[in-house]
């Protein structure tokens, strides 16, 4: 499947979910509407696209200028040996997107990281909580509104397990 044919097929399959398809330094970038994110991911995971590996989920903060967070998914198809970047925008006032945790098993941890770092909620996630920082950490450190080297309040010792 060539690049153009692939994009055409994705457009046919996902229909109005696709907002734009572009190319960034040779990487294929697909932008989808946030309300159809989960169906788009589910569609891409199936054949003929076969994006069986979720390489990564991350987020970019465009809150100051554009009032949005951009979620970035990197998918990889083992059978076709191609990567795809999928993006969707969520409003900065109430950032939330459907969880992909039922589709890929690593989505659980990756979404916890995005939640921890950016405060994006993922309805449908089984146990959404901080992962790299700790219970009692204030704010979401990778937001642009969070100053670099901000001191955190001291927290009480963890309860014994």
């Amino acid at each position: 499947m060539g690049k153009e044919a692939l994009i055409e097929d994705i457009r046919t399959k996902l229909g109005r979910a696709v907002e734009a398809v572009s190319d960034s330094f040779g990487d294929t970038v697909l932008t989808v509407r946030s309300d159809s994110l989960r169906s788009a991911l589910a569609g891409l995971r199936e054949r003929p696209f076969d994006y069986a590996v979720l390489l990564d989920i991350t987020c970019v903060d465009f809150a100051a200028g554009e009032g949005r967070f951009e979620l970035v998914y990197h998918l990889y198809s083992l059978s076709r040996n191609v990567r795809l970047r999928l993006k969707t925008s969520v409003p900065a006032s109430d950032p939330a997107a459907a969880s992909a945790s039922g589709l890929w098993k690593n989505a659980g941890w990756l979404e916890r990281e995005v939640f921890d770092m950016f405060g994006v909620r993922f309805p449908g996630h089984p146990d959404l909580k901080r992962i790299l920082t700790y219970e009692g950490f204030e704010g979401h450190p990778l937001r642009k509104s969070y100053p670099w080297r901000l001191a955190q309040p001291r927290i009480p010792l963890k309860d014994k397990l």
Partner: protein, 441 residues
């Protein structure tokens, strides 16, 4: 607040903490276990003990300045992290790297890969009680790191691979030290295989323990030796070749059932392939060209003479700049745009050189890639090391994200240990090669 495991715990079972202060947890991970005698009924893994805000720090540094932070991700194979970052930037800047620099990069990548696998297996074997294996493998690693240290000047925090090329040429004696390192490592691999491959204690703790199916491995986003142990031959060096890997001969070893023994075995065989690559690359790298221009003169003398005539000879550099002479740098660093540090001879002895030095290091100047976002990945010791960088056209990344391979691997730990015995946690966790610097960023 209660953790998940506390909420779900059965009243008659026992809850126990394993780590972070546990010798096998490397100080950076905590596993909470719900036990029925020795049997693990439920488990919860807590990570983040080594989180130091790598991504936030990088977003506040210039593209040139953030390179040393990438050394501290996977700190047993720092050169591969350097490489991943440098190649991502090169993809965005669209610069071509000279042939010699590409060959040196492959050499450094493979040395790092062997030392990464050695560290993982050494720790895994030690935690299973095979202390001899640990000592043997650490010895081999020192020989490899000697080769790296000769050239890069440091064992672990190298910052040697730079955007656009490499920092300096190989040390004059690199061939001898590489040959010694390859020979010693081969001996150690043979000894270790003799100690472990048919050892019934090691077999008992690794065969059929921590079994991962292919479907689950892909669903968890596993890459690298852990994925290959389940039988999937995915290797970034083969799937999307970078540098000169498409010109080199090597195989991608795979396992059969994805248990701890397969993960050990795949790493052992991969090290042999890496040694093979090292030998091929040593033949391909030509001898360094001799330095031109007769006598050496001090920078101050060069400035004084150049007021009247072109200074004769070449400017003497500090010994710690050995290998980065202007003549050498041409074959090691791209000449497309302001990507690498300008040659020090020019900086010390000419006004134009000093200006270009300042223009490279001043705030707001230096490396400024075009607007856009880019993802690029290389094959690290643990799997696919990917960088995602968003540029807004300034000299600092708007967003820099690392795809850490062991994050995905450790995410599957709970599934692998539930239903097993406490003792099975140790080899299972050891065979994953969890590296705190990369996992927690």
């Amino acid at each position: 607040m209660q953790t998940r495991i506390q909420r779900e715990a059965r009243p008659e079972s026992m809850l126990i903490n394993m780590g972070p202060s546990h010798p096998a947890m490397h100080g950076t991970i905590r596993i909470m276990l719900e036990l029925d005698a020795e049997r693990i009924l439920n488990a919860e893994v807590e990570v983040g003990y080594l989180h130091r805000g790598f991504e936030k720090t990088c977003e506040n540094k210039t593209y040139f300045n953030l390179l040393p932070y990438t050394d501290r991700l996977n700190y047993v194979s720092p050169l591969i992290n350097n490489l991943g970052y440098a190649m991502t930037m090169e993809k965005m800047l669209g610069v071509a790297v000279p042939e010699r620099a590409q060959l040196i990069r492959v050499l450094m990548s493979e040395l790092s890969r062997v030392s990464d696998h050695l560290t993982c297996l050494a720790a895994m074997a030690m935690e299973c009680g095979a202390f001899t294996v640990f000592l043997y493998m650490m010895k081999a690693r020192e020989f490899l790191w000697d080769t790296i240290e000769f050239t890069a000047g440091a064992r672990m925090t190298t910052s040697y691979i730079r955007i656009g090329g490499v920092r300096a040429d190989l040390h004059p004696d690199w061939r001898a030290s590489l040959a010694a390192a390859v020979g010693e490592t081969r001996k150690v691999l043979k000894d270790v295989a003799g100690l472990l491959d048919k050892n019934s204690i090691f077999q008992g703790r690794t065969r059929g323990v921590g079994v991962m199916s292919q479907e689950d491995a892909l669903s968890y986003g596993w890459t690298g030796p852990c994925l290959r142990s389940t039988g999937v031959p995915y290797d970034v060096r083969k799937a999307s070749p970078y540098l000169v890997y498409d010109r080199l001969k090597f195989e991608v070893p795979t396992g059969e059932c994805g248990d701890n023994y397969d993960r050990y075995n795949v790493r052992m065989r991969e090290m042999e392939q890496s040694l093979r690559l090292l030998e091929q690359i040593a033949v391909l790298i030509p001898e360094a060209p001799p330095l031109t221009g007769g006598l050496e003169i001090e920078p101050a003398e060069a400035i004084r003479v150049s007021r009247r005539q072109k200074a004769p000879g070449r400017v003497r550099l500090s010994p710690n700049l050995e290998g980065s002479e202007k003549d050498r740098l041409a074959g090691l660093m791209t000449s497309d745009g302001p990507v690498g540090v300008p040659p020090k001879e020019d900086t010390y002895a000419t006004m134009e050189g000093l200006i270009s030095h300042f223009l490279f290091f001043m705030n707001g100047k230096g490396i400024r890639p075009p607007k856009g976002d880019v993802y690029f990945s290389v094959e690290g010791g643990n799997g696919e090391v990917g960088f995602y960088i968003v540029s807004d056209g300034t000299d600092r990344p708007y967003r820099l994200h690392l795809r850490a391979p062991c994050f995905h691997v450790v995410a599957a730990l709970e599934q692998l240990i539930i239903g097993r015995l406490i003792a099975d946690v140790i080899p299972t966790f050891g065979s994953m090669n969890m590296i705190g610097g990369e996992l927690d960023r």
